[in-house]
């Protein structure tokens, strides 16, 4: 039960990464891999501030702001300096590695001694449950686990709704149109470069926010923790698209969240069944690879069938 709840909580927290990747890869069709660096940046900033006893809400918000800046930088490199999008992401991500080390002062720091959003949630949970643990359908559940799960769920629902509404405002539709057809949106008087910069900023802000949450959930920030974040996010988005079967905005957002949760559950099950954590990233990469080529293979297969049936 504790494993399941942990997987769900992680799934909700990581769905911020999925939402970020959804913005860059799906809305803007921009292969932004800054995420690996900005996720750690969010964690590092939040952890460093928490150790200094800064208010957890403020520390978490700083994590978001850090990612926002990182995304702005990638966007600026890609648009104003005309650097290839992938390369712009690689440059910022690589630079961020040193920045993150500087922020933390060493390769990892613990926040277990500080008051964090996790301890906040735990306190509220205990107050509501009047006990440190309780039973759900015969299973013992600690108030801390339950409150973290509920808190992360509520937050992600809120974030998803805000995102859904935002992308239907004047600014949001202009951003979606930029990803869809930049020639058209320029002809309608929108500076498409600024739209891309803002989009990547929001995307990386969300990803850094998830990093800040993760640091507080697991109790530490580590300079390596962001590696593979883009692929995980992409895997979630792809699973989500398979679940909802469309790229329509609202369903796409819901799908990304559901994909993230499902992905985390699959990971938890695979680890339980004996998959070595060392192989996790390889398996994920292969999964994304298969998901990317399958539609093309199916199309070819159908064509072949069509031909043979005609012959």
């Amino acid at each position: 039960m504790s494993l399941l709840m942990g997987a769900l909580t992680l799934g909700f927290i990581f769905s911020l990464v999925a939402l970020g990747v959804y913005i860059s890869f799906r809305i803007f069709a921009f292969p932004d891999i800054t995420a690996d660096g900005s996720s750690t940046l969010g964690a590092a900033l939040a952890a460093m501030l928490l150790v200094k006893n800064v208010n957890p809400v403020l520390a978490t918000a700083s994590g978001f702001a850090g990612g926002f800046l990182a995304g702005t930088l990638t966007g600026t490199l890609a648009t104003k300096f005309k650097i290839n999008g992938l390369l712009a992401g690689i440059l910022v991500m690589t630079g961020l590695y040193s920045v993150n080390l500087h922020i933390m002062g060493r390769s990892n720091i613990s926040v277990l001694g500080s008051s964090t959003l996790s301890t906040y949630a735990e306190r509220v949970g205990i107050a509501l449950a009047h006990d440190r643990s309780f039973h759900v359908m015969g299973w013992e559940v600690t108030a801390m686990e339950a409150s973290l799960l509920v808190a992360s769920f509520l937050f992600i629902v809120l974030a998803g709704c805000v995102m859904y509404v935002f992308f239907q405002t004047n600014l949001g539709t202009a951003m979606r149109a930029t990803g869809d057809n930049h020639e058209m949106i320029r002809a309608l008087g929108v500076n498409d470069e600024n739209m891309i910069i803002l989009g990547l900023a929001i995307s990386n802000g969300l990803i850094a926010l998830s990093g800040a949450f993760i640091a507080q959930y697991q109790g530490f920030a580590d300079v390596q923790m962001g590696i593979g974040m883009v692929v995980w996010g992409l895997a979630s988005v792809i699973i989500g698209e398979a679940l909802v079967g469309t790229r329509q905005l609202g369903l796409g957002i819901a799908g990304a969240v559901m994909g993230s949760v499902l992905f985390r559950l699959l990971v938890a099950i695979a680890l339980r069944l004996g998959l070595s954590p060392n192989d996790l990233k390889l398996v994920t990469a292969m999964f994304v690879f298969l998901a990317l080529i399958t539609p093309g293979l199916l199309k070819r297969l159908n064509l072949l069938k069509l031909r043979s049936s005609r012959a």
């Binding site: 239907q168 405002t169 004047n170 539709t173 979606r176 149109a177 008087g189 790229r247």
Partner: protein
């Protein structure tokens, strides 16, 4: 009023692919004038439209529109004054977004995009009203993605978008060339109606001599980055498709003569 003052543009200067696309073009278009531009392939007619729209900056000369010198304005800033329809029906609309969202984007052309809600009831009513006048039955499909529509329907909607807010100048770049004949006629009829109704200042590039003869009140012929002929008023009204074809033949022959003469000289002296 649109004023183009000795505008030049050379692509790939200093390379073997150097192309003098525009050579000191001068053109003044009065308010409400409907100018049709024809020319051989690579004559610079589309380049002229793109120079006005700001797809690139010109090498020399100035472009004035509605009293403002827009020569150094970036493309998105000029869009406030300009409505555009491209040759490719896919270029003018965002395929994954609904018809209503696309039109709403156009209703805010040149205005700052903030957090306001685009699809408010008054705008929705106006959308329905204006779209129904296309007589394409699209007014009941406003929520559908625009990518599901045919090229002709998308081009008609692009035209509606380009003229939603009255532009200082409307730029049409062979906007019916990629359509089947029936859709092309439909879009062309709608084009003429809208331009006449709102007396829009228009530059229209076309490959079709028929269109060039029938439409507009001024006709410009381009060749090798220059304006070689400018028919206005009564002269434009008299002109027929065959006259234009004859003109082109003339240009082509002069060209042949030039080329063969040059070749002869080269052989004799090099």
């Amino acid at each position: 009023m649109l004023e183009i003052r000795s505008v030049s543009k050379t692509f790939n200067p200093g390379t073997p692919n150097e192309l003098q696309a525009l050579q000191a073009i001068n053109l003044t278009v009065n308010d409400g004038a409907f100018v049709v531009i024809i020319g051989t392939n690579g004559s610079g007619k589309s380049t002229l439209l793109n120079a006005v729209a700001g797809s690139f900056y010109v090498d020399s000369g100035a472009i004035l529109l509605g009293g403002a010198d827009i020569t150094k304005w970036p493309e998105h800033r000029r869009a406030k004054l300009i409505g555009r329809v491209f040759q490719n029906p896919f270029s003018g609309t965002a395929a994954n977004m609904s018809i209503a969202e696309n039109l709403a984007l156009a209703a805010y052309r040149g205005k700052p995009r903030r957090l306001g809600w685009p699809l408010r009831q008054p705008l929705l009513n106006e959308l329905r009203d204006r779209v129904s006048r296309l007589n394409m039955g699209l007014e009941d499909r406003l929520k559908n993605p625009i990518g599901l529509l045919s090229g002709g329907q998308r081009q008609a909607l692009t035209l509606l978008m380009a003229t939603w807010l009255r532009p200082e100048v409307l730029l049409l770049d062979e906007h019916t060339a990629a359509l089947d004949p029936k859709s092309a006629d439909q879009v062309l009829a709608f084009t003429d109606t809208i331009i006449r109704r709102d007396s829009l200042t228009t530059l229209m590039v076309t490959h079709s001599m028929q269109q060039a003869a029938n439409l507009g009140d001024r006709l410009i012929m381009m060749h090798r980055g220059r304006i070689i002929k400018d028919f206005q008023g009564a002269e434009k009204k008299r002109i027929r498709k065959d006259d234009l074809l004859a003109r082109f033949e003339e240009v082509r022959r002069a060209e042949l003569l030039d080329e063969s003469a040059a070749e002869m000289l080269r052989r004799a002296y090099i």
